[in-house]
């Protein structure tokens, strides 16, 4: 283990190097560029033995990664925003083909209007594509997630591609001190990729075929089971990770001071650091508040959310996302979790941080204040914009 001063992008690249992907195909886009630049440097200096393919688009990047995965190679790509949307056709293709590709996505706003800064509308628009989706909150978690994502995606019970999300700029470009594990430790953690779901010269296969109305549902059901299996494999990976690296993660969610909390704010990504500070300050003033961070959106932590908030008087979701004409998608998912657990807790939705707009401590305090009114509203944070659904 060595300590290094790394940005989120660089930390992720170090994690990918430790995972020894055999094929990397990528197309540059701000704010993802540094991760692919760093990886190409690793390939050049010989510290990473991978085929680095310079494709002509993001669609080709994922198509190429699928080709590599279809012959049993460990494959990695990375993108952001417009690039993610441009490769959108390939996302369900990779999931349906059960190709366990790992992709880093630097969360960035989507045009129009053009904007290169961070929000999460890019990845959240692709929640239904069949990929596991994780959201890191700091550079250390980014590195650790890079390594764990291959373990989880490639596990034979999962066989599902993995999208690891880092908030654009706020996380991708911010430097922190990061523990970088040794290659020996990483090799002890991550087994070589082995699969039967591949084209093999000794055992020829036809892959990525058509399945008509009579068989299609079976394939889709199995795909669903695969991503659901990630529930237990994420735990298994984190347990194994803790044993080898001494850092423990907490599964699909991470809760902070929620045990006795009356009011809980649910959010994801790097924003949780700021919310944590606000929780500490409000706790000092005697407010019983807590934070629930969603580390994964797929599989969705239905049970964890219900278990954490079951005694709360009200919850709010703070998300950098809006499903136009309805509400924030994370909010929709959280409400579904509450409903399934028969919890009748008021819940509000705060849409913030769009196009990189700063979210202040004061705004988070206002959210906690408003929670005490125990209403169910949807608001655009910081501009006074309020909607109540229809």
């Amino acid at each position: 283990m060595a300590k290094k001063f790394l940005s989120g992008n660089e930390a992720f690249a170090y994690g990918v190097r430790l995972a020894r992907p055999q094929v990397i195909s990528a197309y540059p886009i701000t704010p993802q560029t540094i991760v692919v630049e760093k990886l190409s440097e690793f390939v050049e200096d010989g510290s990473l033995n991978a085929e680095f393919i310079h494709v002509e688009s993001e669609h080709s990047a994922l198509s190429c990664a699928m080709g590599a995965s279809s012959v049993g190679a460990r494959a990695f790509t990375a993108t952001s925003s417009q690039g993610l949307l441009y490769m959108a056709e390939c996302l369900p293709y990779a999931a349906g083909g059960r190709f366990p590709i790992v992709m880093m996505n630097a969360n960035r706003s989507t045009a129009l209007p053009w904007n290169i800064y961070g929000d999460q509308r890019d990845s959240i628009s692709q929640l239904d594509s069949g990929w596991i989706q994780a959201y890191a909150c700091n550079a250390q978690e980014a590195l650790d997630l890079a390594l764990m994502s291959f373990y989880i995606a490639e596990h034979k019970d999962v066989s599902t591609p993995f999208m690891a999300n880092l908030d654009g700029f706020v996380l991708t470009h911010t430097y922190e001190v990061v523990d970088v594990p040794t290659a020996e430790q990483a090799d002890a953690f991550l087994p070589k990729y082995q699969t039967d779901n591949k084209m093999d010269l000794q055992k020829p296969r036809n892959l990525a075929f058509s399945a008509g109305p009579d068989t299609n549902t079976y394939f889709k059901y199995r795909e669903h089971l695969g991503i659901l299996n990630a529930y237990k494999i994420i735990d298994e990976a984190e347990e194994r990770f803790a044993k080898i690296f001494g850092r423990r993660y907490t599964g699909l969610t991470e809760s902070y001071r929620t045990e006795d909390a009356d009011y809980i704010l649910i959010t994801l990504g790097s924003l949780s650091g700021l919310v944590r500070e606000v929780v500490d300050e409000l706790r000092k003033e005697g407010s019983r508040v807590g934070l629930l961070r969603l580390r994964y959106l797929r599989p969705f932590p239905n049970e964890e959310i219900a278990a954490t908030v079951k005694n709360a008087k009200a919850v709010a979701v703070l998300e950098k996302d809006i499903s136009f004409g309805n509400e924030g998608t994370v909010y929709t998912n959280v409400n579904s979790a509450l409903q399934k657990a028969k919890l009748r807790i008021p819940s509000s939705d705060y849409i913030g941080g769009l196009g990189g707009r700063n979210i202040s401590k004061e705004e988070i305090k206002i959210i906690f204040d408003e929670l005490e009114q125990q209403q169910s509203t949807v608001k655009f944070l910081g501009i006074g914009g309020e909607t109540n659904g229809n």
Binding site: A65, M66, G67, A68, N206, F209, S210
Partner: protein
């Protein structure tokens, strides 16, 4: 040993599929796979050959094969090559049947046949398709056929060729040649579609010969920066006879045929000046 009908591999790699009777594309795929042999890894985009060959549980390729996205043949083929190479596997032939990349074979049936005969960039001038209907105002496709062979050659790849399923020995020889050259290779093989062209199902090979004999298609190669013509008809057969026997050209007037003949002659003037 030169490859021909007698020396061709007897193993079948593409059978049990549901292509239309007389399908030129399936003939091109079948023959190419016989030449490439059992270690071919084929990438086919969504299209006729994937639609007829990959219907679970009836999977029709004896070798490794995969469907790519519609625009993803070359990139997936690149990934297949890189993935195998990264694992130290070298005794394979990655082949795409469409687009460009590895050895890419474009079976040219002159329209989007899989979706029901719509105009593509390779549809020739004058042809009636379901998106270029021949009516009183517009007589079929108004755009010339895109010159994919020379466009690909312009990338300076090691080998590119044209072929026709009407001249199978020539096609087989070119696949064999491509198989033994390193780098990106491209073969553009004209493969008539009786359903889309409006000819009888037993006329595929005959009409694929005739299009070469009348000069509307040509057999050529690009190697080391030079173009070579492989077959020079002593005298062109009748263009109007070739066109009039296909229902997609039935509406053409004498003036239309004159335009087509003139553009053929211009093309051959270019070939005579620039091809060996």
């Amino acid at each position: 040993m030169a490859i021909n009908a007698k020396t061709l591999n007897e193993t079948e790699f593409f059978y049990g599929h549901k292509a239309c009777a007389g399908c030129g594309g399936s003939l091109a795929v079948r023959i190419a796979l016989k030449v490439l042999g059992e270690n071919a890894v084929a990438v086919l985009p969504a299209g006729c050959m994937s639609a007829v060959g990959f219907n679970f549980p009836q999977l029709c390729f004896g070798n490794n094969a995969i469907i790519s996205t519609f625009a993803g043949t070359a990139s997936m083929l690149t990934g297949v090559e890189a993935g195998l190479r990264a694992q130290g596997i070298t005794d394979f032939h990655a082949v795409g049947f469409a687009g460009d990349g590895g050895t890419a074979i474009c079976y040219d049936n002159e329209a989007y046949m899989n979706t029901g005969i719509q105009k593509s960039s390779l549809t020739p001038f004058g042809a009636r398709t379901t998106t270029t209907p021949a009516g009183k105002n517009i007589r079929g496709n108004l755009r010339p056929k895109k010159n994919l062979f020379e466009i690909v050659a312009a990338h300076g790849i090691p080998y590119a060729a044209t072929a026709s399923v009407g001249y199978l020995n020539d096609f087989m020889r070119k696949v064999e040649k491509a198989k033994n050259i390193r780098g990106t290779k491209y073969i553009h093989v004209l493969a008539p579609c009786p359903t889309g062209w409006g000819v009888k199902t037993d006329e595929t090979v005959e009409i694929a010969k005739e299009v070469v004999d009348c000069g509307l298609w040509y057999l050529a190669e690009y190697e080391n920066g030079e173009f070579t013509l492989n077959r020079r008809p002593k005298e062109f057969s009748d263009v109007s006879a070739y066109l009039r026997r296909q229902s997609r050209f039935k509406h053409l007037t004498d003036e239309d045929i004159e335009i087509i003949t003139r553009s053929r002659d211009e093309k051959w003037e270019f070939i005579n000046q620039n091809f060996k």
